[in-house]
């Protein structure tokens, strides 16, 4: 398999270790389908921001400007969008916060979290703010959303997007999300869209074919473990946590979750509650993981025509 992986990697410009893993996960035919899908562009999508305006008004205004919209079946506010000759960020409607240019998987993450008005919600790696502003939208600006970001530059972008989208129920904190327990606030829900190796973003960023090593993936997995541990510790008993990454690597997804479940029997995976994606893997690379991990979902470029993503919803039992 190693020689075959090397040959495929060389032909398509990937690092061999990546192809070796794909062959182990999917076999040759599906690996080639994946590689082929990663050469095709991902369709632009927008989320209509109902904090600013109605879905109908945004559709009407964008229609007048020649933007073609197509509904996403499981996302009331999500649309595939063809902007024709204009940049998606250049329209007045964008500046006014009527919509947010956002990937379908990212919108699906927040819909999976299902935040409610009046709750206390943590968003632990919040920049640039697509998911934060979506959470506030579903909370109808009621309750308290605590958005945490460590990176100084990215936190400015986060604040800008919060202001543009008319979000008013958010406390933005710059700092290390691993220290959230020091806040002594007990959230009802937590979104951990964890920093990751970005292995699902190859269709958007072809440099990812060669930019990360296996050591990078292991490093990310360690950070993800630590963040999840901190998140679970601070979550209210009975509360909900959604863990997601834009990586297709089981090492950053299913294996991280399996490790968490073994350490925290009070944490259970629950169904996503929406119809999208394919079940997460319970036997990646021949490992035998917790069967409930199949309740988590994956988006894959060669199956869904979207960036690769992993979404897992869990509750902390009372």
């Amino acid at each position: 398999m190693r020689e075959k992986a090397k040959a495929i990697a060389k032909k398509h410009g990937y690092l061999p270790y990546m192809i070796e893993r794909y062959l182990s996960l999917w076999g040759e035919e599906e690996t080639l389908q994946f590689i082929d899908a990663c050469e095709r562009p991902i369709r632009t999508a927008i989320r209509v921001n109902t904090l600013r305006t109605s879905i109908d008004e945004t559709i009407a205004r964008l229609d007048k400007k020649g933007v073609n919209l197509e509904r996403v079946p499981w996302l009331e506010e999500g649309f595939y969008a063809e902007f024709a000759n204009v940049s998606s960020g250049a329209l007045f409607e964008h500046l006014l916060g009527f919509y947010y240019v956002q990937g379908i998987p990212s919108m699906s993450v927040v819909r999976t979290l299902d935040p409610k008005p009046g709750e206390i919600v943590f968003d632990l790696a919040a920049a640039p703010g697509g998911k934060t502003t979506h959470i506030a939208q579903l909370m109808n600006n009621e309750g308290m959303l605590i958005a945490i970001e460590q990176d100084k530059k990215r936190v400015s972008t986060l604040v800008g997007n919060i202001h543009r989208c008319g979000v008013t129920n958010t406390l933005v904190l710059r700092g290390d999300a691993k220290k959230i327990s020091t806040l002594e606030i007990v959230p009802d829900r937590i979104l951990l869209d964890a920093p990751c190796s970005g292995e699902g973003l190859i269709p958007i960023d072809p440099t990812r074919k060669t930019s990360k090593t296996m050591a990078d993936i292991r490093y990310c997995a360690t950070k993800q473990d630590e963040l999840l541990e901190a998140a679970i510790s601070s979550l209210r008993p009975g509360g909900t946590i959604v863990y997601s990454t834009c990586s297709i690597a089981p090492e950053e997804n299913e294996i991280v979750i399996d490790d968490l479940l073994s350490k925290h029997p009070e944490v259970k995976i629950v169904p996503i509650g929406l119809e999208f994606g394919v079940p997460a893997y319970t036997k990646p690379y021949g490992l035998m993981l917790d069967e409930s991990i199949a309740l988590a979902r994956r988006f894959l470029p060669h199956i869904h025509g979207l960036e690769g993503f992993f979404i897992c919803k869990m509750v902390k039992e009372e």
Binding site: H94, L95, L96, H163, V172, D176, T182, L183
Partner: protein
């Protein structure tokens, strides 16, 4: 940087500034039943409006975190000068009569940070004076930002089309130019 309630003396100065610029009662209209708080830094004081019930939550330990934004950003005070924040300008526009409307071309130019020329001005209420701050709208009724008049209302008609009418103070284009 802790979040503190704004003390009454400091708040009255802010209220005077906003009400002087946009009309009596504007500040109370912006504030509603929210609590004004301040985050102080070496460069500026940033003022926000938050629900009263958050005050208890803010008695939290923040030593490991820096507060970068909270609730509604009302504005900043830099070197004793208070400037309203972009997020409140839309509401400000509903509370004041200091509103001007600009043409499509003028609106595009304004959201690139440029000031407003006579030829772009579609509507201006009478009685406004030079230096007065005005909320800027396009012809569709979208709030675009804030400008300062460079000429009295009475003199606008006498201006040539290419003369400046209002200087850009802030606009929604900042969301992509700055952030």
């Amino acid at each position: 940087m802790p979040v503190e309630l704004v003390d009454p003396v400091e708040w009255s100065k802010i209220r005077e500034t906003i009400d002087d610029e946009f009309g009596p009662g504007t500040t109370q209209g912006l504030r509603g039943n929210l609590a004004p708080v301040v985050i102080r830094s070496e460069q500026s004081n940033s003022y926000y409006l938050i629900p009263m019930v958050w005050m208890k939550q803010l008695e939290i330990q923040l030593q490991d975190f820096e507060v970068r934004s909270i609730g509604i950003w009302l504005g900043d005070r830099v070197k004793e000068q208070f400037r309203v924040g972009l997020p409140v300008i839309e509401k400000l526009g509903r509370l004041t009569r200091n509103r001007i409307i600009v043409s499509r071309r003028g609106a595009e130019s304004f959201t690139y940070g440029r000031s407003i020329l006579k030829e772009s001005l579609v509507k201006i209420p009478n009685g406004l004076r030079r230096g007065q701050k005005v909320v800027v709208y396009n012809e569709e009724g979208d709030c675009l930002g804030l400008a300062s008049l460079t000429v009295d209302y009475d003199r606008v008609d006498r201006l040539q089309p290419d003369r400046l009418v209002a200087k850009n103070l802030t606009d929604i284009g900042l969301y992509i130019r700055y952030y």
